[in-house]
Amino acid sequence: MKKLMMTAAVAALAIVATGFSASAAEKLKIGFIYLGPVGDLGWTYMHEVGRQAMVKELGDKIETTYLENVSEGPDSERSIEQLARTGHQLIFTTSFGYMDPTLKVAKKYPKIKFEHATGFKRAPNLGTYSGKFYEGRYIQGVIAGKMSKTGTLGYIASFPIPEVISGINATILGAQTTNPNIKLKVIWVNTWFDPGKEADAAKALADQGVDVIMQHTDSPAAMQVAAQRGIYAFGQDSDMIKFGPKTQLTAIVNNWGPYYIRAAKAALDGTWKAEDTWDGLKEKMVLMAPYTNMPDDVKALAQKTEAAIIAGTLHPFKCPVLGQDGKAVECKGGANLDAGQILGMNFYVKGVDDKFPGK
């Protein structure tokens, strides 16, 4: 034991003497804060895929670090600050709940660039970025309306924040175009990532006569349940076809790589600015996985819908949008709801079979 201690002490001294950061002076250090494990196969996994795309593109111009499983509670502020104080010049925090901690740390380190995913608070050195996932949701709704025999869709939801609400609303609006009497049941699991809870919710929905399941949670658990029950489901965040080869109709794929590459390049050549980026199918931040397990006419309809959204001729929140009470919502964007109304969405549209949380 004595010998071991001595070896350790000598090694420690040697490390102190030589110093850590001698070699890393040239590279731009980029840090990521992840909500789940990199292997969640959903939200965090796709950010990790984006990070890897960035590393592949920019190679040894950058050095990247990630911290995974960082809870949205008190630990996140420390984790973000740890990255800031270890020489990371560009830091991505990849969940809504990191908003206030990111803002706090960003104020403390004005020279470091921060990017927060899906939030709305910005600062001169804090930008935000998110995808127009509701565009993909709308296409899923169109497909689900056609594919459901029971006329009842199930939605596994996480937290009633605007992004999730707009996803639910876009789904039912899409579904109503192919089946005006479609119903949508919602189960709130109050977590982003908990395969056990997600699977339970999927089972409960299936027991209530739901035959198409969609989710706003991060694991493929619901897909697996749907596969066992012989009903359909949509993948979330990543292409989950492996978990339901005969089950998945399509999936919304979060494609962060191009954005991360763009942001890193801007930081490298000094043109980085704190911006609010909100890209969709057109900019390829949101992609649709191949349309599978459906008849050709449904597939053609889905492709047509996708093309129309990309071309800008179809907007999922085209006015009039009817609230749950049947009254038309004020239309601030002319022909459609405007960005503010979608990003701050705080109501259900007509046809959602659920009481709005907290109201």
Binding site: L4, A8, A12, Y66, R85, F159
Partner: protein, 363 residues
């Protein structure tokens, strides 16, 4: 030849002190092997885990921030465990303390009520935790219900009560429906000790709690009573100690400490009430209590050590890209060796020759 465990006639203090050191040494060796298999320099990794966090004021303060709730809860739990009372529900008492204390912060939000708010919040937090702990205590004393089960089950009840409040009546109107209260006002926030860093007055409260517990256990009749009831219930009964009253007492104290830790955490580093305020502090504190051998000073050291592994683990993720899972493996291995080495306090290993086997072996 054969290895046998033989019960020691008397306990050796030398072994009692050596055992945790041996456990740590074995952990270091095992981890070094794991690091080497992963292709990481073991000496460097151990340095990042254990030494580097101690060389910098930021990480030192973060260790204190992390250790504060662990130590406070574990002190309370140690009183229970010494008295042979098994409170497993500190996590729930922590949450109820946070909830009760937060009530004042929520209702006074934006009204600038004056400096009485924070002390009142701390008091209500301690009270909330104590009352929550009274439920399993009373069930045990009155109906003989197993307190391990009841206290544990109440964790989930507490969790759901908090969930309901932050999703419903206490939700921040400006919070975009995210389940959280509004940020606490400065008067309802535990102040930090220094301009920079997150270390707050709660760390001092934890130190005071450690000192008080040490005095109580070592110098007072109550401390003696706790230890006698735990070690020899029959003797305690003959001495006139009321074991039922002691159940209520230890549960109340540990609940109050967990509740106080909860409100300090919420009004301190977090600043809002929201789900996920505790990454399992109430359960980790059980490990801290036993690592610290149910001794107040031991618990302080164990709490700081466990906090060090969290902070060091984060450092290892950043500077050496060592996955987080390995930090968890690390903590698990440590606990495993501590428990394994503890058996050396009660038993000695002896090598005895077994003639029959020997003959069999050579044949």
């Amino acid at each position: 030849m054969q290895l046998v465990l033989e019960r020691r006639a008397e306990r050796s203090t030398k072994i009692a002190i050596l055992s945790p050191l041996l456990a740590i040494a074995l952990t270091l060796v095992t981890m070094s092997i794991l690091f080497a298999i992963l292709g990481k320099n073991p000496a460097m990794a151990l340095y990042v885990y254990f030494i580097e966090p101690l060389t910098d004021s930021f990480t030192l303060m973060e260790i204190a921030v992390k250790a504060t709730p662990l130590v406070m809860i574990a002190i309370g739990l140690s009183l229970c465990y010494l008295a042979n009372v098994w409170n497993i529900g500190a996590e729930g008492q922590f949450i109820m303390g946070a909830v009760c204390g937060s009530y004042l912060a929520v209702v006074t939000n934006g009204t600038d009520p004056g400096p009485w708010v924070l002390p009142a919040m701390l008091l209500m937090g301690a009270l909330g935790g104590a009352l929550w702990a009274m439920i399993p205590a009373l069930c045990k004393v009155r109906y003989g219900a197993n307190e391990i089960l009841t206290s544990l089950m109440l964790v989930y009840v507490a969790d759901l009560i908090m969930d309901y409040l932050v999703r419903g009546p206490w939700r921040d109107p400006q919070g975009m429906n995210f389940p959280t209260t509004a940020s606490f006002d400065p008067v309802a926030t535990v102040p930090t000790l220094f301009e920079t860093g997150r270390i707050h007055w709660g760390a001092l409260v934890a130190l005071i709690v450690v000192a008080l517990a040490a005095v109580m256990l070592g110098r007072t009749i109550k401390g003696f009573e706790i230890r006698v009831v735990g070690a020899a219930p029959r003797a305690a009964a003959f001495a006139g100690f009321n074991s039922k009253r002691l159940v209520l007492f230890t549960f109340a104290v540990s609940g109050a400490l967990a509740g106080l830790a909860g409100i300090i955490e919420v009004a301190g580093p977090v600043g809002v009430l929201q789900p996920g305020i505790s990454p399992g502090y109430g359960f980790t504190a059980i490990i801290v209590a036993f690592l610290g051998r149910l001794n107040p000073v031991g618990i302080l050291i164990a709490g700081l050590f466990l906090a060090l592994t969290f902070i060091g683990g984060e450092g290892a993720q950043i500077s050496m890209k060592i996955p987080l899972d390995l930090t968890k493996v690390f903590q698990g291995i440590l606990l495993f060796y501590v428990l394994a080495c503890d058996s050396l306090i009660l038993y000695r290993i002896r090598l005895i020759a077994s003639p029959k086997k020997a003959i069999h072996g050579t044949a």
